[in-house]
Subunit: 228 residues, 2 copies
DNA sequence: AACTGGTTTTACCATTTGTAAAAAAATATT
DNA sequence: AATATTTTTTTACAAATGGTAAAACCAGTT
């Protein structure tokens, strides 16, 4: 019997006494393969067969766990948005006591470490970001702007700045755009300087670039009477 | 008889006495429709039929002027790269006598005016930039990194700075990335602030954002003994 | 050993895609 | 006006895609 509803299958797998490993593992295997492929190609260019080949299974297996391609992509986006949703809270911890340079440096380091471990998130976002004005063509992708909005309000809360709200929003927009750009399309920038997009050399380049762009600006936004 | 070679048709159209308008106009009409569609969708998601519908003709007409979809996309990319290749020389004129703030301001204004008149270039670049590590899948797209490299060396020549070459390259990479990002995917950023991506309000936002990010940095890179 | 449930594969379908050739229409040439 | 040439449309096709159903497989249970 096939899993028509999102949860019914998992419930079933859990309910039949034995460990739910088999089904859960297969679902995970599919999600992982999809993540891989969707991070290399935009939604419409990625095919279910390519995902199946990537994961070493046959493409109708996908349908057993996800009713449509749209549902699979949505699940992938949900996953990475959840991961970012947890991670960004940690990224922003304990920055308020630091100087602009120290604080932003710590933030960048945290993001870079995260991106090394989970490199797919930014890539999937970047692959499809130019299509955000057609959200109907990108199932589930509306979660991405929503995520950015949430990270934005976290940022405003956890990094209190004295500047007017507009300017802080602008700063944040540019910062997150830079991260998505440099981490989500590393080849576009690394190749220009003859670097390997996956190298630590490039990661250090990104660090330096973001610091150079944003530290002076952040300094201007920071509380003038704050004691670092 | 069909135009197999790129130029043979045009030559023929020119050679038969009368004005070459008909053929040239049709070719232009197709290129224009393709530009429109390719600026809304990445290469693989855009179909020849969608382009034909956009231009109000039947899709096999495309093949009469362009042997394949790849050739059409290449022609579009060649076109926008040529346009940028002319335009960027003007953008960079007479900046060297200005202060970082004045010079960058003028540059940004020039780019914004250009982008308002030719909004497709940055969009087409942005739609496909995340696939730049698979140039075999994007016919003609290699011209884009090549263009960026050329603009980069123009920048270094026309805007002489005292900083080490690495830093200037880094500055330029970030600047062009910001332009491509903000102008090539305007909806992604404008919507976040509740703006219309095509509005002058958003254009002014982009101006302010780029100035805030890059003026202080440029100040550090500028010749310390230069007289503005 | 036979059965039962969940899981995976095989085979297939309708649609869309890029491409192709031939027919039709429009234009130019004599 | 009749013919030749160029341009456009009609029609068709093979490949790839998302989706579907049925068969095969596999693990426990009886």
């Amino acid at each position: 019997m096939e899993a028509s509803k999102e949860t019914s299958k998992r419930v079933k797998a859990n309910s039949n006494g034995a460990d739910p490993k088999k089904s859960e593992l297969a679902r995970e295997k599919i999600l992982q393969a999809a993540k891989e492929v969707f991070s290399r190609q935009p939604y419409h260019a990625a095919s279910l067969r390519a995902i199946a080949k990537q994961g070493g299974f046959d493409h109708p297996l996908i349908r057993y766990y996800f009713p449509t391609k749209a549902a699979l992509f949505t699940a992938v986006v949900e996953r990475i948005v959840l991961e970012f949703g947890d991670a960004h809270l940690i990224w922003l911890q304990d920055l308020d006591t630091l100087s602009p340079s120290q604080g932003l440096g710590l933030l960048v380091d945290r993001v870079l470490v995260y991106d090394r471990q989970y490199p797919h998130g930014t890539c999937i976002i970047m692959q499809n970001i130019a299509q955000v004005d057609r959200l109907d063509a990108l199932p589930g992708y509306r979660l991405v702007p929503e995520l950015f909005a949430r990270i934005g309000s976290s940022f405003r809360k956890k990094v209190p700045l004295s500047a007017p709200e507009d300017e802080i929003d602008m700063f944040f927009s540019c910062l997150i755009a830079a991260f998505v750009n440099f981490l989500g399309a590393p080849a576009a920038h690394a190749r220009r300087m003859g670097m390997d997009p996956a190298s630590t050399e490039y990661a250090q380049w990104v660090r330096k670039a973001i610091m150079a762009q944003f530290v002076p600006w952040l300094g201007k936004l920071a509380l003038p009477f704050s004691t670092y």
